[in-house]
């Protein structure tokens, strides 16, 4: 590499080192983001999900309503706050809880097995927290299922439910006479059985009521479980790359407005060398930022480096991609403000589409499809593939290729624009 290119890169890195704001975006922000989001999502060994705060008002105060509240409190997905109906609604309105749940006075009647009426709730949802509503409904159904199971395993209480149901059927005139007799006979026999059976033997002999899920992280190592930091540190690396692009993209416009570009062009170097010098500086800053984030992740937050060689290749490919983007974006305006605005606009769209700002599964289907074309997503997938997904070289190769191709295209675009505008 020629001495002028190295001199240009060293100069740009020195200027970056003296720009505290730029340094923050390159080195500080990615680390803060990775650590903060890692802790928010549960820290080491975390499940990646925070318990959803809900306000519960038990107006029934029955045995079953109290048992149901206990089931809710035992759920790791929920953070239950017991309140009155009015307090609960206010908590949701103020955004302190994502929903409120009211167990009405007749809750127990519907919560019993063989009840002819369903268990009724009043569920008030915060309209801003719709994505979590599905998780909440799942947790409620899980608690209700557990409540039923507990009753099915208690023959004495189950007998009471069956007797009650039997009375109901006996007087239900909507059923044909013959059917009422059949169902009534079945329930009477069941009641006799439940009244005579030994409770302990009954529990042992009762078949399992629900499915049991054996959960396993799908990686090459079946015992592996990714901590939330192993999810957020690759995102931190990508934000470091984005910070580098933002910091260096304005460099060329700054050279233009300060007329230093004119002095550079008087030197015995070509436009290509000027771009390469800027690209080298950006690449080294990208590498430094990524190395810092990965090192802090590995040393302080136990982020595993499953394939260091592949990780180095992933970082190099991602850095090349973002350097190319920087070179392309740096020529999109003639002033620092123009370039900074264009660069952030493009980078925000790429980050949003690529899952750098919110999980992809929160996005509409069309955005998820579009994300397949975002280099941010390719970079994230490549980094995760090398860090903990246990991907092979064949699996990561298309992503590496895509990142390098985007980088080369960006650099070529920048060079062509710079050549075209050199006399302006």
């Amino acid at each position: 590499m020629s001495a002028p290119i190295i001199a240009l890169a060293a100069k740009d890195l020195r200027l970056l080192a003296r720009d505290r704001f730029g340094l923050f975006w390159v080195f500080g922000f990615p680390l803060i983001l990775a650590i903060l989001f890692g802790m928010m999502f549960g820290g080491p060994g975390g499940t990646g999900a925070k318990a959803l705060p809900i306000a519960v008002s038990d107006e029934d105060q029955s045995r079953l309503s109290k048992a149901f509240v206990k089931q809710l409190q035992a759920s790791p997905a929920l953070e239950v706050r017991l309140q009155t109906h009015a307090e609960a609604a206010e908590a949701v309105r103020q955004g302190k809880c994502i929903a409120y749940l009211v167990l009405p006075k007749d809750f127990e009647a519907g919560a019993q097995p063989f009840s002819q009426e369903p268990a009724r709730f009043e569920l008030g949802l915060d309209p801003a927290r719709k994505p979590e509503a599905g998780i909440l409904r799942g947790a409620l159904m899980e608690a209700l299922q557990a409540l039923y199971q507990a009753q099915l395993r208690d023959p004495k209480r189950l007998k009471n439910s069956v007797d009650s149901a039997s009375d109901g059927v006996r007087w239900d005139e909507t059923l044909p006479e013959a059917e009422r007799k059949k169902i009534g006979a079945f329930l009477e026999r069941m009641s006799e059985f439940l009244g005579s059976v030994d409770p302990e033997s009954y529990k042992k002999g009762l078949p399992a009521q629900t499915a049991e899920f054996k959960e396993q992280a799908v990686t090459r190592d079946p015992s592996f479980s990714a901590s939330s930091f192993e999810i957020t540190f690759p995102v931190g690396v990508v934000w470091g790359l984005i910070g580098c692009v933002a910091a260096f993209a304005v460099g060329l416009a700054r050279e233009r407005t300060a007329k230093t570009l004119l002095r550079l062009r008087c030197a015995p170097i070509g436009l290509l060398e000027i771009l390469l010098g800027k690209g080298l500086a950006c690449f080294l800053a990208c590498a430094g930022s990524a190395a810092l984030v990965v090192a802090v992740g590995a040393l302080a937050f136990k982020v595993r480096l499953e394939n260091p060689l592949m990780l180095a290749a992933a970082l190099a490919s991602a850095a090349l991609c973002f350097v190319g983007l920087m070179l392309g974006l740096s020529t999109l305006g003639r002033t620092e403000q123009g370039v900074a605005g264009s660069a952030w606009a493009v980078l925000m769209v790429l980050a949003l589409l690529g899952g750098g700002m919110m999980p992809l599964y929160f996005m509409p289907a069309w955005m998820q499809r579009a994300s397949q074309f975002s280099p941010v997503q390719w970079a994230l997938v490549s980094l995760e593939g090398a860090l903990w997904r246990g991907w092979s070289w064949t699996e990561v190769a298309p992503y590496f290729g895509g990142l390098i191709a985007v980088g080369l295209a960006g650099a070529l675009f920048g060079w062509l624009v710079l050549r075209r505008t050199r006399e302006q």
Partner: protein, 240 residues
């Protein structure tokens, strides 16, 4: 050392330089004198290879294309703007531009020390440019153009916006360079600078050279004053 033949450069419909011809001999100092918009800076940019003429030829140090690296090694250019890095120190600016011209090691250190001395900034070479006055920055800007010991120096209004002390300092230093045999072409608004430094002066307006002669000849032709020659040739109407 510099030969310009019938060059023309247009921007849109406007001809910034129109069939311009002149030459600067080795060791000579030629002043391009002209009002705002006369085409002085465009001429300098054409000589530095920053612009390509629409027609005509420019030859510097015997080579026809000044954009070539081998020609640029012989050219020192001090632009009208300061064109320096405010967040680098004076010494770092000099060293950076020196490296672009292939200087390294002891030679680079020697030239950086020379540049700081040239700009009278030896004591403040480790300070960032933000702390420098306009005059200090202008002196450093000229020193940066000389860091690689060029054979031809192009100065675009080198004393613009500086105090009388810095201007005097710069003019003394340029005179020293001239006495050492450096070929110098500089543009200026200041008639006294042209009188003080130049063997010959070219008076330009509207992209053309209206007169090019020795200071003595121009004075003789226009009532004993270069200023009168300038106003006679370019007129008295305001240009801004």
């Amino acid at each position: 050392m510099i030969q310009v033949r019938e060059i023309r450069k247009t921007f849109g419909a406007r001809a910034a330089v129109d069939r311009l011809s002149f030459e600067v001999r080795k060791g000579e100092t030629l002043g391009l004198l002209g009002p705002n918009g006369a085409g002085k800076t465009t001429t300098l940019h054409l000589l530095a290879g920053l612009l390509t003429p629409d027609s005509g030829t420019v030859s510097v140090a015997g080579e026809e294309n000044p954009a070539q690296a081998k020609v640029r090694r012989h050219l020192g250019v001090s632009p009208q703007a300061l064109a320096l890095y405010e967040d680098l120190t004076g010494a770092e600016n000099l060293a950076f531009f020196g490296r672009l011209y292939g200087l390294a090691g002891a030679k680079l250190r020697e030239r950086v020390a020379w540049g700081l001395n040239f700009a009278e900034l030896t004591e403040r070479g480790a300070e960032r440019l933000r702390a420098y006055s306009g005059g200090m920055q202008r002196r450093l800007s000229v020193a940066c153009a000389l860091i690689h010991e060029p054979r031809v120096l192009l100065l675009d209004e080198p004393t613009a916006g500086v105090d009388p002390q810095s201007r005097n300092h710069l003019l003394e230093r340029i005179a020293t360079l001239k006495s050492q045999g450096l070929t110098i072409l500089f543009t200026t608004h200041y008639i006294e600078e042209a009188e003080r430094l130049c063997e010959r002066v070219a008076i330009m307006d509207a992209g053309r050279i209206l007169a090019c002669d020795t200071v003595e000849q121009l004075r003789a032709q226009h009532g004993g004053s270069l200023e009168k020659a300038f106003l006679d040739l370019t007129g008295r109407s305001l240009r801004d």
